[in-house]
């Protein structure tokens, strides 16, 4: 369960400031697939990063599993994030010199114990990347890269997936694979908060929230 309560985020550069989020409230229950839609620049990514404990809001709270994540120390926030939140971004953020299996397993760096490789391999298989397992990101298509990023996010079975425009660069087929996997994740009790302006996500959403500029 994630609750975003009256969150305001302001970016300040020198003397000018921009209010990216203005008193936003939103919640997503376990098993719920929430799509946040809105035009470019309306603060969707800021909302996602704030919800993931990466951007401290000026006002409001982010409550995940009944805990205000901004009350933690930075190190504990990182630990909490590793245990509970999975991130997927439009630009994939894969490490270019690692293979697919290594990129997925990189999530183990955030944990004290290594996860069995079988778990990473199973995810890769489920996402149709078995043949590409030892390839580097440069050798993959956009869809394959995004599936790899999703596998990385799912590796430690988080409670919440925060996804930012993940289908923006994908064709219909690949978008469908990724969204299906996210839906599957919600069916197993996870929460998905997907920010996008892509209509492809609409059929998978339990709820669609519109953001305005």
């Amino acid at each position: 369960m994630i609750r975003i309560n009256n969150v305001t985020k302001i970016y300040t550069t020198g003397e000018s400031s921009v209010k990216a989020l203005d008193n936003i409230s939103l919640s997503a229950a376990p098993g719920e697939f929430v799509v946040v839609k809105g035009p470019s620049g309306c603060g969707k990514t800021t909302l996602l990063l704030t919800a993931g404990g990466l951007l401290h809001p000026e006002e409001g709270q982010i409550i995940i599993n009944d805990q205000n994540i901004y009350e933690f120390t930075p190190e504990n926030t990182a630990k909490f994030r590793a245990a509970n939140i999975g991130f997927v971004f439009q630009q994939y953020h894969l490490i270019p010199y690692l293979s697919i299996i290594e990129n997925v397993s990189i999530a183990s760096l955030a944990h004290d114990s290594e996860i069995p490789e079988e778990r990473a391999q199973k995810l890769i298989e489920e996402l149709g990347l078995m043949e590409r397992m030892h390839h580097t990101p440069a050798e993959l298509s956009a869809g394959e890269k995004q599936r790899t990023a999703l596998a990385r996010a799912l590796l430690y079975k988080p409670n919440i997936i925060l996804a930012d425009e993940i289908t923006g660069n994908l064709d219909h087929k690949n978008a469908s694979i990724v969204l299906k996997k996210l839906k599957e994740f919600t069916k197993s009790g996870g929460t998905v908060l997907l920010v996008t302006h892509d209509e492809k996500a609409k059929p998978y959403a339990d709820r669609i929230v519109e953001m305005e500029n």
């Binding site: 800021t46 190190e75 909490f80 953020h93 990189i106």
Partner: protein, 420 residues
């Protein structure tokens, strides 16, 4: 997946960045190792040069000493041991010592453990009128050399004159037309001429040598002598003061004078030569020390400069590496990787650069040092230095990488992810 694997994969991916960092450490370590190797070779060469010079000098000195010993022996006795109350004025005026001392003195000296004296010749000498020939002569009674009891016997410089015989100086036998085997009388006592000496150009030419016992009887001085001639050895500490001290400890009632200026000149020449040789060695040592100091000074300026430049270079490379990996660091932070692990990604890389650079740099420096020093010898391999650079090069690299690593760890992932 762990940090080490990630670091190794990153190194493989960005080989140039790694090689440039490595090159920097190799250069720094090679400078240290090369400089120390050259200094070591310099020390070894200096030791060889000085040792060779010392050996050469010792050999030369040994030869000189031997020559001097032989010359000194040829020149005859160079010490005169006289009664303490003998006035030297009178001695030089009369050509002989008028004061007497017991003949037993020579035995006391022969029984002592003298270090500086070789060959002892007791004598009784007096200038007399040879009544039978109406000639002034120096009558000298000698008993032959008295051997030192604790030393190996030496070939005598002066042979014994048997009783009833005499040895005659050149001027005497020439002016009186006497020959070996002729018989003469001295104060009524008969003698056969045993030997006629060649001209010596000194008082020896008017000297007659007879047996000491007979001389004591003729001169009515039984058991007495007035001089002991001796030969001073050519050895360390054999200065006249040392000889005097030694003789006085055995014969307190005597005085010792050195005679024969040629001997002294030669000794002085030898000493000058020895002194010059020692000074030449000392000058060589000073020259080598000066050269070493110059090289040391050069190294002491060059090494810190290169170490500093190397550290700066590594720091810049790491800053570049941090920038290049901004996205990677951002996602790692986003998925919950702690700051210290991010730092370790860079610090571990720095350690690998430091260790590899130290190993390669040490041997590169060793080889360069050997080439420049002109010697390939095992002695220049210094395990302690190798261990030292294996410790300090990673520390240098760590120090250089620390700030960039801190920047990486402190990077706000939100900034990176928002930018993308």
């Amino acid at each position: 997946m762990n940090i080490s694997l990630l670091v190794i994969k990153e190194i493989k991916r960005r080989k140039l960045n790694f090689l440039l960092g490595l090159l920097s450490v190799v250069f720094a370590v090679a400078t240290v190792s090369g400089a120390l190797t050259m200094l070591k070779i310099h020390d070894i060469n200096s030791a060889i040069i000085i040792s060779a010079k010392e050996k050469e000098t010792q050999e030369r000195m040994a030869l000189l000493q031997d020559d001097y010993r032989k010359i000194t022996k040829k020149l005859g006795f160079n010490l005169l041991i006289l009664p303490k109350d003998q006035n030297l004025n009178d001695l030089y005026a009369d050509d002989f010592a008028a004061k007497l001392m017991p003949e037993s003195y020579v035995d006391s000296l022969a029984n002592s453990h003298s270090v500086f004296i070789r060959h002892l010749l007791p004598s009784l000498q007096e200038k007399i009128l040879w009544p039978e020939k109406q000639r002034t002569i120096i009558l000298t009674g000698i008993r032959g050399e008295v051997p030192f009891l604790h030393k190996n016997p030496k070939e005598p410089m002066m042979v014994k004159v048997p009783k009833g015989t005499l040895i005659m100086g050149f001027e005497l036998h020439k002016s009186m037309n006497l020959q070996e085997g002729d018989k003469v009388k001295i104060k009524g006592r008969k003698f056969t001429i045993r030997k006629c000496n060649e001209s010596r150009g000194n008082k020896d030419d008017i000297t007659i040598w007879i047996n000491l016992k007979e001389a004591q009887e003729i001169l009515n001085k039984p058991g007495k002598i007035n001089a002991i001639q001796a030969l001073k050895c050519i050895c360390a500490g054999s200065e006249l003061s040392g000889v005097r001290e030694e003789v006085h400890s055995v014969l307190p009632g005597t005085q010792v004078i050195e005679k024969g200026s040629k001997v002294l000149w030669r000794a002085e020449a030898r000493n000058r030569s020895a002194k010059e040789a020692i000074e030449a060695i000392e000058a060589e040592k000073q020259q080598q020390l000066k050269l070493r100091k110059e090289r040391e000074n050069f190294a002491s300026i060059l090494v810190p400069l290169i170490l500093f430049a190397s550290a700066i270079w590594i720091a810049f490379l790491f800053i570049g590496n941090v920038r290049e990996r901004k996205s990677e660091i951002g996602i790692l932070r986003a998925i919950g990787v702690k700051k210290w692990k991010i730092m370790n990604l860079f610090l571990l890389k720095a350690i690998i650069i430091g260790l590899t650079g130290a190993l390669v740099g040490y041997f590169a420096g060793l080889s360069i040092g050997c080439i420049l020093g002109g010697q390939f010898i095992m002695e220049v391999f210094n395990i302690n230095l190798l261990l030292l650079v294996l410790v300090f090069a990673p520390i240098l690299a760590l120090m250089a990488a620390y700030v960039p690593a801190t920047i990486a760890a402190g990077q706000d992932p939100a900034d990176v992810l928002r930018e993308e």
